[in-house]
Amino acid sequence: MSPEGHSHPTPGQYWKIAAFLAAVTAAEVAMFYIDRQLELGFLNAAILILLSAVKFIVVVGWFMHVRFEKPLINRFFTAGFVLACSLYLVVLAALGVVAIRG
């Protein structure tokens, strides 16, 4: 039981989560090859980023137990992530990389 009162997943649930993550990774690789054939461009980038975000959230939420921890931990972690993303997106935009790649 976590400090917040939620039950942690069982080993069986961890295996299911891992299978889901493996399936998402397979979908990512499939998207890479589909894009080579169909040249989806922005749509490919959007789908890959979305799939990557799903994996990220699942690992942080279930494997790192952020879902079951105290909110303070969630806030620290999210603050670092949001700060880093914001800072470097501004840098990339300022240097024209986002426009060049987009």
């Binding site: 670092g80 700060l83 880093a84 060049i100």
Partner: protein, 208 residues
């Protein structure tokens, strides 16, 4: 001095009562949070130079072996599963199970590292792409090299915990917290690779 030493355990107890979270655990979360800035800088550096043309030599995006890197990514992802199973086993006082899953995690981490060494070796020996070939190559080696260093440090910590557990016949409560902290670090290394795999490999753009 002796009074301070005598009172230390009480002070320690009060410290982690103030937030309701063990100080070392909170410290690890703050450290991991700051690591986003570190890896963010390296990923940004790569994005700035990955497709900037006008330089001699092979660009990383021209020689990526996606099937090979996909398998490496899968291995690292599965090491997160074995890590969480080690943590779960210890929480159930299953010392043998925890030790087995710890070793499995270290083994999978080592396989990932071996794959990275092989990739670097191939890029250097077959394609002659070294650290100084062009800015894109430098940025690629810097980013993946630092990530690999983090994985290597994680493997060392995992094997240390495995060794302690093997020697003592199990992990104490305090060492159990160490396992949780190493686990957090290990999962973090995994999520950074999730980002690198997508941004660097799957969304690679040929040089302009």
């Amino acid at each position: 001095m002796s009074d301070v030493a005598h009172e230390a355990p009480v002070a320690h107890h009060e410290e982690h009562e103030s937030t309701g979270i063990e100080n070392r655990k909170l410290g690890m979360w703050v450290f991991l949070s700051s690591e986003f800035l570190f890896f963010g800088a390296l990923i940004t550096n790569y994005l700035l130079y990955s497709n900037r043309g006008g330089f001699e030599g092979v660009y990383p995006s021209e020689i990526y072996d996606i099937p090979f890197t996909s398998v490496s990514s899968f291995v690292l992802l599965m090491s997160s599963l074995t890590m969480v199973l080690a943590h779960h086993a210890l929480s159930r006082h299953d010392q043998n199970g925890a030790r087995t899953w710890l070793f499995a995690t270290a083994a999978l981490g080592s396989v990932f590292l071996g794959g990275q060494v092989f990739e670097f070796y191939e890029f250097i020996s077959v394609y002659d792409m070294t650290l100084s070939t062009n800015p894109a190559a430098s940025a690629f080696y810097l980013l993946t090299g630092f990530h690999g260093t983090h994985v290597a440090i994680g493997v060392i910590m995992l094997l240390s915990l495995w060794g302690i557990s093997r020697r003592q016949g199990g992990l104490s409560e305090r060492q159990g917290l160490n396992l949780e902290l190493v686990g957090l670090y290990w999962h973090f290394v995994d999520i950074i690779w999730i980002v690198i795999f997508t941004v660097v490999y799957l969304l690679s753009v040929p040089p302009l």
